[in-house]
């Protein structure tokens, strides 16, 4: 147990995975000597060499496409996409090869590839550096999609993702990279990768959220105590497949659900959660499932991101609306 930033926890997790299995490779733009623009791979090239930590040419289709080939060869590549908005040149390889090769070959060609993507806003960046494209992966069959929200989870989840024989799109909330938490090292003690978790129990309303918004929602839950609301917060952690059991259980108790996400809401993971919960908990719901999300607009200039991103107040506003239904 040690108190670590999420950045360090990920770095340690990667290191542990590389020590565990010589077939684990890290590849991406600037991941080597520089240690990545967020320093998540700091020191790994120095310790594991240029053949296991690859500073690649500047091409995302290349990163994913080569990782697919390396996986065919028996490697377990961990790709870094530098920022959320730059995954799209690699999207074709993700959708057409990474997601489908196992199915195409009926299991003969496994694809144990992890694609790490720092995502979300709140860091005052220029265009394409603050997006939340997770729904564009959750919709694609053959991919697994997860998002960590804190250092402890990050440490375990990255290792679990690397151990998984499925392709995992691994979203890291970049604005939480420098937040600290107690990080355990016993991987066996960690919850399964594809499990949601109640991070704050409560009885009056359920919030389902993930990634950077977990912290925001926990803060909102704390603030809501003053208003007499006892909010249960669930960190979804896995976005595809969703682990809706804990959410449905919770809603059956609270009767109310607010889904919170930075991504635009339209045709998204938050839509899916709402669509499924209204079906599974139809008779338990005392109010419709409400959503607090980014707007259905491109990410705005960063001076406006505090307006664009759901914050404590917008979450509480939805809580009030739900409670008042």
């Amino acid at each position: 147990m040690a108190v670590q930033t999420m950045a360090k926890a990920l770095n340690d997790g990667l290191r542990a995975a590389m020590e565990r299995d010589p077939k684990v490779l890290i590849m991406g733009e600037d991941v080597g000597r520089l240690g990545g623009v967020f320093r998540i791979t700091d020191g790994l090239q120095k310790d594991f060499g240029e053949q296991r930590v690859l500073d690649t040419p500047l091409s995302e289709s290349g990163i994913i496409g080569a990782a697919v080939g390396l996986a065919v060869r028996g490697f377990r590549p961990v790709c870094e996409i530098q920022f959320d908005g730059f995954v799209f040149p690699g999207y074709d390889q993700i959708v057409s090869q990474l997601a489908k090769l196992r199915y195409r070959s009926q299991g003969r060609v496994p694809m144990p590839v992890v694609v790490r993507i720092p995502f979300g806003g709140g860091i005052g960046a220029v265009e394409h550096h603050s997006e939340s494209p997770e729904s564009l992966f959750a919709h694609v069959a053959g991919l697994k999609v997860v998002a960590c929200s804190n250092a402890a989870d990050a440490h375990a989840m990255i290792q679990q993702a690397i151990l998984s024989d499925d392709p995992v799109i691994f979203f890291e909330p970049k604005r939480r990279y420098w937040e600290k938490a107690e990080v355990g090292t016993d991987l066996a003690a960690a919850p399964p990768l594809h499990s949601a978790r109640v991070v704050r129990p409560g009885s009056s309303l359920t919030i389902a959220t993930y990634g950077p918004m977990v912290r925001t929602c926990l803060d909102a839950a704390t603030a809501a105590v003053d208003d007499g609301h006892d909010i249960e917060v669930i960190d979804l952690r896995t976005l595809s497949p969703l682990d809706l059991g804990p959410v449905a259980d919770s809603v059956r108790r609270t009767g109310r659900l607010v889904v919170v996400s930075e991504a635009p809401g339209e045709s998204s993971v938050s839509s899916e959660v709402a669509a499924r919960v209204q079906q599974e908990c139809f008779f338990s719901l005392e109010a419709p499932v409400l959503r607090v999300t980014g707007f259905d607009t491109p990410y705005p200039p960063s001076r406006l991101e505090d307006d664009f991103l759901p914050d404590l107040d917008r979450v509480l506003d939805a809580v009030d609306r739900s409670m008042a239904w």
């Binding site: 289709s61 290349g62 390396l70 090869q97 199915y103 009926q106 499925d166």
Partner: protein, 394 residues
Amino acid sequence: MEEPQAWVPSDPRSRPSHDQVVAGLKGIDEGGPELVQLLTPEGERTADRRFDSYAADVGVEELKALYRDMVLVRRADREGNALQRQGELGIWVPLLGQEAAQVGSGRALRPQDMAFPSYREHGVAWCRGIDPTELLGIFRGTDHGGWDAAATGFHPYTIVIGNQCLNATGYAMGQRFESRVGDPETGEATICYFGDGATSQGDVHEGFVWAAAYDAPLVFFCQNNQWAISVPLTRQTRVPLYQRARGYGFPGVRVDGNDVLACLAVTRWALEECRTGNGPVLIEAFTYRMDSHTTSDDATRYRLADEVELWKLKDPIERVRVNLVRSLGVGQDFFDGVEAESDALAVRLREFCRAMPNPGPERIFSQVYADPSPQVEAQRDEYLAYHASFTGEA
């Protein structure tokens, strides 16, 4: 000041390039002086200082074997076409005319090598020991590709144009990382197949960049069959495709793709370069798609019969037959034997195809993931129960 003239794009098919000659009604690209050839369309062995030695071991038996390969591959291909016409297959992708490019390069491979095909490489599949029956599922719609890629050294077919060039690059990087490169005999190499149209895709370029950057033991094997469905080569490039390699700092060679010996020799050389650490290499096999793009296509809508007729004169099988008969004195028995064998193959294919069962609906849900997704499993269980309620198996 003059008004600038409106730009009327010239019909790319009528634009003669420096390496075209005019024969009959229209220009046919002969491949240019840089074309490596060891066997002329007339069946005569020609000398090539650079590549001769890579076919030096091909005597009469070896040439007969290549001939047999090509005849059987063609027969399987024609049977595929016929099965589609008879409604047994949803579609067939013919390789007619490309037998030499595929068999020549395919026979240059060693067991330790890996091949990444596109969707037309039935002849390469043959050389990798994949029975033609194993190809049928894709076209019948019973599977997405059934063979064992690792055991055969033959990756699943890739339909999205260009994707496999990066996948092959990654694989070859892995051969490098695993120190399987160095020895000219046991060293490993990878070969990647793609078409002339594919060269326009970003993935092919990125494959070139990456393979060069990581010294990947990878032979890029472009079958330039002059057409990408209805789009002629001139829409994709101003210059011969093998010259692309220059811009990346690795060698590019144009070989007569209808000459099985030249394809064998040049590919062996290229693989040896890769095995010994001098990869990557680009080969452009200059050939022709004699049939339509697929059985869904009608090539008469966009190209002239003359062009096809002229290419018939360069048939890849016929020139070997002529050489075997005229120069090597092979008698009719051999040819009859191959013919009989090919008849038997056709029958076997046909019968196999007609007997192919449809998969059950559980196949929809199988192997989506290694660790099954509860969501997909629930959908499977629900659907199978629903399905059974119809068939009375509930």
